[in-house]
Symmetry: C2
Subunit: 81 residues, 2 copies
């Protein structure tokens, strides 16, 4: 596993998007993996927590702070997960 | 900037490599950027802190825990930094 959720940050107060992400399971210490990304850094990106896959806009994903180690900062993006 | 150093972890006690990384400037809250990687996930990887560039083996880099956000977990690797 490549990245661990550190926290979800509020972009504003209140932040319904951040709250919704937490409700969906984006909570500290959960393992997260990027399973697909749009070309050219576009939207959306697909991420997986456990067996659940989510499609997130980058502006949403930007609220999710993750930690990993410098030797593998690349959660594996696979075109056909 | 793409990743911030969270901490350097000791792989053993004592860990001269971890201590040396800290002496070199791998300290919490410093911004770090991957500037080049060997093909096929090999060694070394080149990282930059400020204006200083380091070549690290992956086993060394693995001690450096970084944080970033889910929308850009990819410190930009550039072939000719």
């Amino acid at each position: 596993m490549e990245a661990i959720i550190e926290r979800v940050e509020d972009a504003r107060h209140p932040d319904p998007v951040a709250r919704r992400l937490r409700e969906l399971g984006f909570v500290p210490d959960e393992a997260v993996r990027i399973v697909a990304t749009a070309p050219m850094g576009g939207d959306p990106i697909a991420v997986r927590i456990g067996f659940t896959r989510f499609a997130l806009r980058r502006e949403e994903a930007a609220r999710v702070i993750v930690r990993t180690d410098l030797s593998r900062p690349y959660p594996q993006a696979r075109p056909h997960p």
